[in-house]
Symmetry: none
DNA sequence: TTGAATCTGAGCAAAGTTAATCATTATCGT
DNA sequence: ACGATAATGATTAACTTTGCTCAGATTCAA
């Protein structure tokens, strides 16, 4: 990190801070101060400004980028592997879709992997509250209905009362849901109450609910619970899931598919 | 930076300032003053002028270029000109937005050019039925509400009854509308009935309606009429508009701004 | 749970930037 | 060449930005 800023133009410095954060994803205030060649106080003010504009998120001691790094190829084995896992899960989910179906796709990277596989289908109606899914299918493919609402930048989804009203009259054959946390004890959990409300309403309006969650989600608990495991028909995950947790989830009436 | 400008022609100096900014992307007032061989006061005046025309953005201490530095040479004069025209129109529209406003942006390339200029604003709420606008502002910037609905691929917008229901409870200060055709006789026209219905409802829910239409639209008629010229407060267009049509539109009570 | 270390935001003074005003110089049409 | 008009540069008061200090909040480890 050595973008030492010579000209001292505030706007330029903020761009540099954004760039540093995009690249490293997280950084401490002290690092950013050194990188930009200004005091920590100034970096804090910049971060407050950038946060209010939605580019970054403040955390104690530093900040996290909310922008997608260009994902240069420094060969992140772990992310690589996770992406392959997600695609395997998405492929298994594909089996549950019949021609002519109306399906719901919510936010989250695993569900996004499924959307990618559907991009050249027709005879299918997709309902989604995810901007990423919408953008992915904007070029062509199935019919698409987007439920709008307030835009939540962190998850790139639409939430709030407008979203709920938009979902209300819609009924889908199958809802493909993502989750942040999943345990038999706490059920499905996510980070945002508005997100949780949206997910609940979707599950209520679907004949069948398929939960897509790689094994890293299983056993973790997030902030807000949504729905109930009893409403989930199928969980599609990978072989990394623990036997104990798997059995407990099965006992809640969920069919578990390990891909 | 050593473009010291001797000839003393103001227009030439402004071109030089634009060029310096294109090249370096940002520069301080002092640097530009030295490069142009004039006082800082003059540079500030030039920068104000260039900003009002949409070529640059002023920042504390200097300025940022809004023009693409890369300017590859295939030199598509026509597209070049059209894009510049659109940006000039968008820049004029910017004047009609106050901090804290809620505004509507509909589909269409001129309105998209306006969205681009708003990407780093905060203190602003943007409502849109355009996926392109949504994607453009997804990274950061103003608060955003997207009115969803059936996705119409040709225009990359949301239309239909879901969209109408989503718009109904929303009221904005200013609606910035695009159109396919515009004549005094037929009013505003577009290609799709559902699109037309959406536009009408938006105009009804806005305190002020600003129509953005480059002069190529003026005098052409499309398939479905929407709204009435009486509901339009301001038309922002370019100098290519014909005198006759301009006067007829003015007689309908529309303020015409030629950029 | 407690304490040490760290982080944060608020207030403040110094430095830098801006916009407004005004006197001076350049340009233009006749 | 002349006066009218516009552009420029200097001056200054108002505003922004910045770095510093300090009291209170937060984190982490014992």
């Amino acid at each position: 990190m050595n973008n030492t800023n010579q000209s001292g133009l505030a706007a330029e410095r903020r761009d540099a801070i954004r760039a540093m954060l995009r690249e490293r994803h997280v950084a401490r205030v002290a690092e950013l101060a050194e990188g930009a060649g200004v005091s920590e106080a100034t970096v804090r003010r910049d971060l407050a400004e950038l946060e209010s504009r939605g580019f970054i998120r403040r955390v104690h001691g530093g900040a996290v980028s909310l922008e997608d790094a260009v994902r240069e190829a420094p060969f992140d084995d772990k992310a690589e592997l996770a992406a392959a896992e997600k695609r395997r899960i998405a492929e298994a989910a594909l089996q549950r879709i019949k021609p002519g179906d109306a399906i719901f796709l919510d936010g989250g990277s695993t569900v996004l992997a499924l959307a990618r596989l559907l991009a050249d289908r027709d005879r299918l109606t997709i309902v989604t509250n995810s901007l990423r899914v919408a953008a992915l299918l904007a070029g062509g493919g199935p019919d698409m209905i987007v439920v709008g609402g307030e835009f939540r930048r962190i998850s790139q989804t639409f939430v709030g009362s407008l979203t709920r009203h938009a979902i209300e009259p819609l009924h889908v054959d199958t809802a493909f849901m993502g989750t942040i946390g999943l345990t038999a004890a706490h059920g499905m959990t996510t980070t945002d109450p508005r997100e949780a409300l949206t997910k609940e309403l979707i599950m209520r309006n679907a004949s069948q609910v398929v939960l897509l969650a790689d094994s890293s989600k299983v056993g973790t608990v997030s902030f807000v619970a949504f729905g109930s495991l009893r409403d989930v028909d199928v969980l599609i995950t990978d072989k990394g899931i623990g036997k104990t947790e798997e059995n407990r989830i099965r006992k809640r009436g969920v069919e578990v598919v390990k891909q």
